[in-house]
Symmetry: C2
Subunit: 343 residues, 2 copies
């Protein structure tokens, strides 16, 4: 087991009686090297168990072919799908991915970014944490011309790209649909309004109300973590309201589902008494009874496009100046919001 010593290009070069640089070039199909030589080099390299030493190579080349990803949490179908999309694209282009979770904490996000920066990633793909206040922690990267692409939870940032859907429009459509079904008192359960996704959906909600002559009431807006517990709490809060709402628009499916379940336990009929619309089209939306009306979000596509944009920035010198890419969403109507059964 003579396994401790790594085989280097020098070893290969010696075996072949040629120079290390030729080996180096041959290994990467340099056009100036003769075909046969390349074949010979690759053959013996393989045979000898040669393995490129990335560190030496990175040290020389000043780039790592590695892309960092910072996401709030991994445990959603949505995020896993986004990342699968990114992996596909980056692998095709010879990049690796380092994934890290901020756990929805701005503080942890900063430490993720720092760690990734210290790992000298070539670029960063980011979806912001719930309570990230500002994005100064990305300046270290930006100052070094390391491109940052935001997706989903994005932020104003000169020189950064963003990949999103039209959350305003989606919020508008969701609320409009509820109104269309006859709802007049619609609760909006949302997250931290610092985040574009929630702020925009909220704006859409308000506008839809306004356009239909429904007075906006701040007491109908519930800000939360949008997790399971938030859904349960919301249900309880609703049960205690003097005049109950007849519709709920939630900014994600997790909390919508929890609300439905909890409301169901209290004997409330969904959608007859209260109609519900969620957001994201997670698989769970098809499990809950009644099935959840929700907004479909092109997760895989978002991942692919964010990764592609980043790689473009990395490889082409020309700086694409389109800074925001907006993808298409769609409202998926299921039973949880259908008051007029036969519509």
């Amino acid at each position: 087991m003579k396994s401790n010593k790594d085989v280097t290009i020098y070893d290969v070069a010696n075996a072949l009686k040629i120079s290390p640089s030729t080996v180096s070039r041959g290994l990467k199909d340099h056009p100036h090297i003769r075909k046969e030589t390349i074949k010979k080099i690759k053959a013996t390299a393989h045979e000898m168990g040669y393995q490129r030493n990335k560190f030496a190579s990175n040290l020389r080349q000043k780039h790592t072919n590695t892309i960092g990803v910072v996401v709030p949490k991994l445990n959603s179908y949505f995020m896993a799908t986004v990342i699968a999309g990114m992996e596909k694209v980056t692998n095709q282009h010879g990049y690796g991915l380092i994934i890290s979770q901020s756990q929805e904490s701005g503080k942890q996000e900063i430490s993720c970014v720092t760690t990734l920066f210290n790992s000298r990633v070539d670029g960063l793909l980011v979806s912001l944490a719930f309570d990230t206040k500002n994005i100064d922690h990305f300046n270290v990267l930006l100052n070094k011309n390391i491109p940052v692409v935001f997706f989903d939870r994005v932020s104003e940032c000169s020189g950064c790209m963003s990949v999103v859907i039209d959350n305003y429009k989606a919020g508008y459509e969701a609320t409009y649909h509820l109104i269309d079904q006859g709802c007049k008192r619609i609760v909006h359960l949302t997250g931290n309004l610092l985040r574009n996704v929630y702020a925009d959906r909220f704006r859409g909600y308000k506008q839809a109300l306004a356009d239909n002559g429904i007075l906006f009431d701040q007491k109908m807006v519930i800000i939360s973590d949008l997790n399971e517990q938030a859904g349960i709490d919301t249900a309880k809060k609703i049960l205690n309201m003097k005049s109950r709402p007849d519709g709920i628009f939630t900014a994600n499916d997790t909390s919508a589902v929890a609300t439905i379940v909890e409301l169901g336990k209290a004997g409330i009929k969904i959608p007859d008494e209260i109609a519900v619309v969620g957001f994201n089209n997670e698989p769970i939306s098809k499990v809950v009874q009644p099935n959840l009306t929700t907004v479909d979000y092109p997760a895989r596509e978002i991942g692919e496009i964010a990764a592609t944009s980043l790689i473009n920035k990395l490889t082409s010198s020309r700086s694409d100046n389109l800074s925001i890419i907006v993808l298409k969403h769609s409202l998926i109507v299921r039973e949880s919001s259908l008051k007029n059964k036969k519509s």
Copy 2:
């Protein structure tokens, strides 16, 4: 924006009129350096925006302080929690994590392992893909004394550690519970029996039947991908059986839930006509109606322990010879299996 050039220890050394080696030592609190010097070094380094170059350092030191993780898929609550546990431990010890998904494909698993190996990870944390036939692809690492720790989906492997639960016992308990509720014809929906988790649960299922005088019937065992579609297919298959089962034990929650939903659509009463037990205690198990009886799996703990074991192997020279760690699971009984309502 004079940002292209990195600050090196040489720059710091020059600024301080001392040697680079002293700076290098000072930065890592070498005991032979005077306290004040250390303080001065750190101060100016920070001030100048110095940042250690990992590649140079790795190149010298032959290790990367990075741990690779290979999982089948990211998109489950279970996996996300496992990984959160790993991150916590590894970060505490100054290690980074590179996560990659095999997408349940043995072929992709091989490529993940190779990529990680080429990235010179110091160790590997692995849960096997569905259809991984053998584990020869880990030999490259093992031959170089790079430790591999398996968790959840493990495999016989001399010199590797494994972190698991007692799947045999869990399968036994789940099946026993069903029998206890009066079930006599129990379908077992499971995954590829190559994987210990499924094989062991299956053994437990068979033993529980045997211990209760129920004849094992191969036709009652359905092998599948255990995804949503598998649940739907299983439900359809069951609906077409001449003599219907009165219980189902599924090897994960996703498929259990899909089965319940599909069976529900066909008007089957759960648990009265068919009782169901799942596995994993995913959040979805508390959403489906009726709530799913399932086996709770200490996900976070598994992650923490697997990571801790790996780091121990990395840091201590003595080779711990305990090769399998078994964690505690527990059966969580909910409505989906409760035939005797008031038990």
